[in-house]
């Protein structure tokens, strides 16, 4: 069974962390992943940096730009991750925009992911119809779960459709906006989380965008399986470097 599916069966709220690979320094990737696992993180989204990240706010844009100027490439990221499964057991997901993956070659990309032990992909700008028609069979051949997003604007019909083609979890974007743009959840979000929970979808939901501390983590997971933190963790890396990751995870989990 894919590590993502296994993890989703655990009887707990899941904490997933996103960071841009190659940030703050080119070769921090592996040590950040290991530290996150050691400190109780359940799942990691490794951001493949892109020059034009349309769905991201300033924090992730800047970490992406820095990672690229540090010299990060798809090839280098895969090199860094080569031995990762010798000591990391939690699910690893690569999150990236479609163009770098297309240029690398979608099949070659998926194949390398499998060899390394990547469990899933999140590609925000790969449309569902294109995925189904052209790439689904490739992803499945290499055992990769493709994670789809829903937002407060997604229609009920489309949510049901996305649920029907998903295998793993649904990435629930907390509010209308790019990453890092909200501070605290209001009733509107809670109502939305509950509304989706009441749909009794076959796939669990994990909330992302706007989670930055214990309070928002607790709110986000009241009706869902877990939460994803990106910008807040990157801000922590910017301020504190990579040596005090436990301070960050403790501030979320306790």
């Amino acid at each position: 069974m894919n590590r993502i599916n296994q993890k989703l069966q655990e009887d707990k709220k899941l904490l997933s962390i996103y960071f841009s690979a190659g940030y703050p320094n080119l070769n921090d990737t592996v040590s950040i992943i290991q530290d996150l696992e050691k400190n109780g993180v359940d799942m990691i989204e490794i951001g493949l940096p892109f020059s034009d990240p349309l769905a991201d706010g300033p924090t992730i844009q800047e970490s992406s730009t820095k990672a690229l100027s540090n010299g990060m490439t798809t090839e280098i990221l895969f090199d860094q991750l080569k031995g990762i499964r010798q000591n990391v057991t939690i699910p690893l997901i690569i999150m990236g925009y479609f163009n770098p993956i297309l240029q690398y070659g979608v099949e070659k990309f998926c194949k390398t992911c499998k060899v390394i032990g990547i469990d899933g992909l999140i590609i925000p700008d790969l449309p569902i119809d294109v995925y189904n028609e052209q790439y689904r069979s490739i992803f499945e051949a290499y055992g990769l779960i493709n994670i789809f997003l829903i937002t407060p604007q997604t229609s009920i019909k489309r949510i049901q459709f996305i649920d029907s083609i998903s295998n793993g979890f649904i990435y629930m974007v907390s509010s209308a906006g790019v990453t890092g743009s909200s501070s605290g959840f209001r009733e509107k979000q809670t109502t939305y989380f509950k509304r989706i929970a009441d749909m009794k979808l076959k796939n669990p939901q994990i909330v992302g965008f706007g989670i930055s501390n214990n309070e928002t983590f607790t709110q986000a997971t009241a009706y869902t399986k877990g939460a994803i933190i990106g910008s807040a963790f990157i801000k922590h890396l910017t301020k504190e470097g990579i040596n005090s990751i436990s301070n960050f995870t403790n501030s979320i989990l306790n």
């Binding site: 892109f50 034009d52 730009t65 090839e75 163009n99 240029q103 997003l149």
Partner: protein, 393 residues
Amino acid sequence: MGYNINEKGYYGEFGGAYIPEMLYPNIEELQLNYLQIMAEPSFKAEFDQLLKDYVGRPSPLYFAKRLSKKYNTKIYLKREDLNHTGAHKINNTIGQILMAQRLGKTRIIAETGAGQHGVATATVCALMNMKCIIYMGEIDIARQAPNVARMKMLGAEVRPALSGSRTLKDATNEAIRDWINNPVDTHYIIGSVVGPHPYPDMVARFQAVISEEIQWQLKNKEGTTKPNYVIACVGGGSNAAGAFYHYLEDINVNLIAVEAAGKGINSGKSAATSVLGREGIIHGSKTLLMQTNDGQITEPYSISAGLDYPGVGPMHAHLYTSGRAEFISITDDEAMTAGLELSQLEGIIPAIETSHSLAIFNHKQFKTDDIIVINLSGRGDKDLQNYIDYFKI
């Protein structure tokens, strides 16, 4: 029928809507409604009326006598420079503001490079009393100051794009992010035939008035609707799409797209996307774009801010790879020289974007009885300082 868009939103293998889910409701709303709205008699009537009384259409098709004599062929200029606000861009913004009204939107966002599209958008927002926010790269704000002032005077807010390379591509990113942040009340008026489907087709249809007029104007002057050549400069490709539109399927009409070579194709400072680009995804569209081997989008260069875009509309990517249109790249120097030449031969100071298409005559020999239509996409007022600096006038 091979060069226009298909029912799935592609020109050949190019186009589509490669957008994050956050944009799906807005894009789907447009996809489902744009053709129907454009076909409504009341929409058409209002669009035509505004093009006539407000923009000043039809724009003249002018026989350029001295230019024709110099190059020993028959050259007509389609005078989009005489439109209100000085370029073809307003054909599209008039259409899209009416579209936004029909969709019940109250807030307009747009990106701009040279500022022409920003001015055209700010203008129609003033006309229709809509809130208007224009994203413009910090670097472009500095090099196109007169247009920034015009936008502000028209009541628009100009927001600097501070990310990435701080030019047109980044202004477009910021506009898309704004739309993600404001999914309900906002319409995004894209300024060229780029972006996710249906934008390339919608913008091409609004600009198609250019070739529609060329047909009957040429018929009156030459007794034929068909020129031998239609020539236009290509940034994103909207003025070219408009000038080519009614001739796309008529292979007896040769189409020439002129791109900006900047300081030269191999100089590392160029914006000739068809030659230097590879297939990929930019701003929600599968097309040709300038990028690194690793798929990072690179920064183009051209002396003209309006041609300084690392991609090209999917229609043009298809016209290029299918061979339907000939693509020629013109350097900064060639364009500037051609701009000065038109000024002194015909008394028309063209936009630097347009000057690129006028430089064609030093690249290509035409027959004496060839009928050539050049789309004079804009006037040079906004570029005066650049011309002055370049020629030390």
